[in-house]
Amino acid sequence: MRVSLAWRGAIGRPSVLFACIVLVGLCLSACLAPFYAQGVGVDPFASNLAGSVMRDGRVVDVMQPNDNPLHLGLTPIGPSWRWGAYSLGADSQGRDVAARLLYGGRSSLLIAGASACLCLVLATGCGMVAGVFGGWIDTVLSRLLDILWAVPVYLFAISLSVVTVGHDLRFGPFHIGADSFLLPIGIIALIYVPYAARPIRARTRSLMTSGFVLAAQGLGASPVRIVLKEILPSLIDTLLVLAPLIMALCLLAESALSFLSLGVQAPAASWGSLIHDGEGLIYSRPVVAIAPGLAIVLTVLALNMLGEALQNGVRPMRTR
């Protein structure tokens, strides 16, 4: 197989190495989440308000009495920073923050990855059709994308989520449960289609006038053949550069939606909904909100670094 120009330019850079290690590590830790939960013996989804845990050789309650003068209410146990149950403390329901962080990573990475793929597929379809056929098809598609582009992305995602997420939806034979990940994936993919379709359309347009496509046309190749055999392989670089950047945007959008309780629905958790859970404890147990936020920053940072390195691979030297 032809080695992609973007990948060849990026491989071996320290930032790419860092990004790949971080991403692989995050995926592995997300996959191993059940082993952690079983290993230390906690359930990340069931509330454990009356539970207790071994701490420094003593059995202590997960929910501790408040240290304010009136001793009103309960504060979840703080982090121990050691291997074992409740190493990052408990949240307001007495659940293990570390286990929820790992399980949250599963949802976040799954939704971000799936919506990035879906978005690129949709955008490639739109962009290639607009770029190959031109004329009125191009005009109509570009105007439609302009409409999507004109609405602030988060507003668009939030309005779509409000009316769909959390209901049982039936589209003929298809049934989407209230807690399905399909809705967030679809919504997040949709909002970034214009963002990805523009460069794909522009690249297709420029490829359509390039020598090898004209030659194929002159030889009587059908539009289908031109799209599949000539245009699509040449778009690989564009898609490869877009993929991590779109996934970074998708992860941020997913966390924002879940933060507003419009993405992943309870009992499932994602990093965004963990930040939402930690909001009420922000002044007493800030680690509940800090940890998932740091996880998001780390992931998005790695994805952006990867995207930039790939982009530098295809860009001419002088503008690096």
Binding site: S142, V151, S159, V162, I282, A289, I290
Partner: protein, 334 residues
Amino acid sequence: MRGVLSRLGQTLFVLFGISVLVFAVFFATPGSDPSARIAGRGASEETIARIRHEYGFDRGLVARYLSMMDHLFLSRDLTSYVNHGQNVVAEVFHAAPVTLSLVSWAALFWVGGALVTGMLAACFAGRWPDRLLSGLGILGLSVPVFWLGEMVNLLSQSRFHDTMLFRWVPALGYIPPGISLTGWAKCLILPALTLSIAFIGIYGRILRSDLLAAMQEDALRTARAKGAGPVRLWVFHALRLSGLSVVSLFGLDFAQLLGGGALLTEVVFALPGVGHLTYQGLSTLDLPLIMATVMYSAFFVVIANVLVDGLYRLLDPRIGSRSGTAARGGRSHG
């Protein structure tokens, strides 16, 4: 002249499309019957039927759409479904100054920050200040704005509120400039900084690469050959050449933020702006309120598009009849 007219036609088409989209999403989605929601939980069939008739939900979609547009734009007396009798147009106009203040402060920070970081990075291209700034830029656009806001609140309202650094920070909320000008500035500085971090990252990086590209242009080579000093070269020649794409991007981002794109920042810092209003409308599924805020937002974005297009042609006569603006870089995630 013909170009302007066709652009105006396209603008109206885009506005129409957005309104239809919002309307369709709200009425065509399964499980979102507004009359049942207005009637409340456990309402009888008759109540729901009466409400359906009263609000005109039994009429056709087209008639409903036209009547809503009539109330929104012509008579401007569209009222909320949730808070009965509340005029949503007035609500939006009440919230707009808050958003305008926040976004203007943020724009001040992000243009200043981007100019400084972009110029510095371009001057030291390839050396350590460039690498450092580029790393910080990527970090800036990787931070979720709502989490950053929470962290800023944690530091400034709780942990370090009693230290010199954050003693001046007022409680969360908005203080109109009519009541206290200094209070207005104080309550907006931290939210605006939070909002601008991602934009400083995006704009600094774009400005840097544009500056480096501009340095290769013939005009710059001529200026250098004529003996222009570094300041003159960078500020008057390269910056002017590379300003174009940043100006167009700025117009679009500014308009999106004004139109409610700063929703998350407004929610986290409890600022009663347009984004907050939209969020409120969305969480109660109040269609008139949502329609008003979305149309208001789309209006800003589309107008900004037209302005940027015009400005582009004015600044760069080479462009002529190019349609659409070359929007690049990241989308706003306020």
